[in-house]
């Protein structure tokens, strides 16, 4: 078990490194391929009014003329050990993990990202709770009453749910429940109260995005759970469980559901990991200033250090979620860790 964990951890680190190299290469190469020079990149730091000579000096000091691999090395070192930036007038220290400074605001990227994280985490976790409960419950009920009116109605709604884009349902929910016609129950998007400040307002502000986001995922989970349940409930061990006289409730919950839930656990890990790295569409629809909105703003402003930071943080969550799921599997299923 210990060797398995170590092996998985090493692979997670390797994977993040590869992702960071590819991301770095793409985001620093594409602008150059498209014609940006070291000087035009440096202009973003020193401002457009600076003289050509100053820009040249800044470009040299920021290392934009170095080979890509040297630049990446510096970037990676900044994340692990922090970095010192020499702008000319003075040296600025950026503590680890250092993702560099924003082209636009000149502020370090990392603290900014950490400010945004609670919003995305609140959004993702709240929605996840709703969609797992709603989706799995609907799927199980549908499977148990296969062909019934409930099953057909629920599966039709679920199919519609997976076919609706979140930004459409999001706008519709805002128009219906927030912008004043017909029901102005919830605050229009953009308001967020930290949980530790007032949990009630926190939840109230997030209900609309939670429900909209959860509906989308619950639809998918209901379909998956139903398919999984139908498959497991036909297994021999379910018949054995029934034959030895267990009541139906125990058979369904302890034997059937357990078998059906394992594949869903994998997908849940991936989904949650992806969401934590920025619920881009939801945040942008509801103007929630989370990681996803940060990413959009960074991209709109062509703010490369921010883009790098967001992509890497998002990749971290995906890799981390995968790691947790794999380790959970190893705990549940001994075949995995022995393989």
């Amino acid at each position: 078990m210990v060797t398995y964990i170590i092996r998985r951890l090493i692979w997670a680190v390797v994977m993040l490194t590869i992702v960071s190299i590819i991301t770095f290469a793409i985001f620093f190469l594409v602008p150059r391929l498209a014609g940006a020079t070291s000087e035009s990149l440096a202009t973003r730091y020193v401002g457009r009014t600076a003289s050509a000579a100053d820009v040249k000096i800044a470009a040299e000091k920021l290392g934009f003329n170095d080979p890509l691999i040297v630049q990446y090395g510096r970037f990676a070192k900044g994340i692990v050990a922090g970095a010192d930036y020499d702008y000319g007038p003075g040296v600025e220290h950026c503590p680890a993990p250092c993702f560099g400074y924003s082209f636009i605001t000149r502020l370090p990227v990392w603290p900014d990202l950490m400010d945004r994280l609670p919003i995305t985490v609140s959004l993702a976790i709240g929605a996840a709770v709703i969609w797992v409960i709603a989706g799995v419950a609907t799927g199980v009920l549908s499977a148990l009453r296969r062909g019934s009116f409930f099953d057909r109605a629920a599966m039709s709604v679920a199919l519609a749910g997976v076919s609706l884009p979140i930004f459409f349902t999001g706008i519709v929910s805002l128009v219906l429940f927030s912008y004043g016609r017909p029901f102005a129950i919830f605050a229009p998007g953009g308001s967020y109260t930290p949980f530790e400040q007032n949990p009630v307002t926190w939840a109230y502000d997030l209900i609309l995005p939670w429900v909209t986001l959860a509906f989308l995922y619950a639809a998918g989970y209901a379909r998956l759970t139903r398919a999984g349940m139908l498959e497991t409930m036909n297994e021999d061990y379910i018949r054995t469980a029934r034959a030895k006289g267990l009541n139906e409730r125990t058979v369904v919950v302890k034997h059937g559901l357990r078998g059906a839930l394992t594949p869903i656990l994998t997908i849940f890990g991936l989904d949650l990991g992806l969401l934590l790295g920025g619920a881009v569409l939801t945040e942008s629809t509801y103007s929630l200033p989370g990681i996803g909105k940060y990413a959009i703003d960074a991209i709109t402003n062509q703010d490369l250090p921010k883009v790098m930071g967001v992509v890497l943080v998002a990749a971290f969550f995906v890799v981390f979620a995968n790691l947790v799921v794999d380790l959970l599997y190893a705990v549940v299923d001994p075949r995995v860790r022995l393989a």
Partner: protein, 331 residues
């Protein structure tokens, strides 16, 4: 060639007899190919057929967009300022819906929503189809290679798939679509944007196809007909292309059909976020993001939103039906 069309990757295999029995005991009458059996099942699935019909209509709409729009005498980028109430910026009469403007007009500049939705189908379907094609080609080639050769090749390709799946796809796609300037790689305008979106969406989706094909190949590799081919002296490429690929057509078809709606949503999302095909070329996602500001005129968001919904739903219905028809066990 009656190999199982097993997309779940489970080890239980349907014997040819049971496949035929599943078609309603048809074996007593005459032998039918798997394709015929699947078509019989699909014909019985009215919901899937309805989905397929809508898909066909959508494709026709996209292909003949200029004719359809021309029949109403409209142009998707033409401003109709004379039909806009200059004090409220709303179309005269609230929505501007009339015999010439079936879906009404956009507020402020008065562009015809119907023709924009019709033209939007072009971008949406073109990108979704081409991106799916790209993922399927890369995914199938690498998936078959990994599954057939195994060993080091398999572990390299599998690890590569892991890395690709670790990319935060949407963030990465927006970032990539956002940093490419308006002219690059010798292309410009809509051609560049379409090519770019096809590349981004297609290239980062291949591992989903690759994983499935790899699993399928792993189980096919152990089958007798492959052994037979090998004992007759067939080599790797022959076995892959002539023995394996025909047996992989069903899963490839199923996953391609189910990948298209995902890609429609993906393209719409990118356009919604402003990194898709550039205005004034109409896209459904772009129309929705314009419509957000005019929420008091819900007709503006309704039509592009419903266009996305109907397209995705139709492909999903058809894809589900196709899966049930080709692979009855996956029900």
């Amino acid at each position: 060639m009656t190999a199982p069309m097993d997309v779940t990757g489970s080890q239980t295999e349907a014997t040819p007899e049971s496949v035929l029995d599943g078609a309603g005991g048809a074996k007593a009458i005459q032998g039918r190919s798997l394709g015929q059996i699947a078509w019989m099942r699909l014909k019985r699935d009215k919901v899937a057929l309805a989905g397929g019909l809508i898909v066909v209509v959508l494709i026709l709409v996209a292909v003949f967009a200029p004719l359809i729009v021309g029949a109403f005498g409209q142009d998707p980028t033409q401003f109709n300022s004379d039909l806009i109430d200059s004090s409220t910026m709303a179309p005269k009469g609230g929505t501007g819906i009339s015999a010439q403007h079936l879906f009404g007009l956009e507020p402020v500049n008065g562009r015809d929503i119907f023709s924009r939705v019709v033209y939007g189908a072009r971008i949406s379907l073109l990108i979704a189809f081409l991106a799916t094609l790209l993922s399927v080609i890369i995914g199938t080639l690498l998936g078959v290679t990994a599954g057939y050769f195994g060993g080091l090749v398999d572990s390299i390709i599998s690890k590569a798939m892991d890395v690709f799946l670790a990319f935060p796809l949407l963030v990465f796609a927006i970032a990539l679509a956002g940093i490419v300037p308006d002219t690059a790689f010798g292309l410009a305008g809509d051609t560049l944007r379409v090519a770019l979106l096809v590349f981004i969406i297609g290239f980062f989706n291949w591992p989903y196809v690759g994983r499935i094909i790899r699993g399928q190949t792993l189980s096919l590799r152990e089958r007798e007909f492959v052994d037979a081919a090998r004992s007759l002296g067939a080599r790797g490429p022959y076995i892959i292309f002539r023995e394996m690929l025909p047996n992989l057509v069903a899963p490839i078809l199923i996953y391609a059909t189910l990948l298209i709606p995902t890609n429609v949503l993906f393209e719409a999302a990118l356009s919604f976020l402003g990194v898709g095909v550039r205005p004034p070329t109409p896209t459904w996602g772009g129309m929705l993001s314009d419509a957000v500001r005019f929420y008091t005129m819900p007709h503006f968001m309704f039509f592009p939103g419903m266009a996305i919904f109907i397209t995705v739903l139709a492909f999903n219905l058809f894809g589900d039906g196709l899966r049930d028809a080709l692979d009855p066990k996956a029900r």
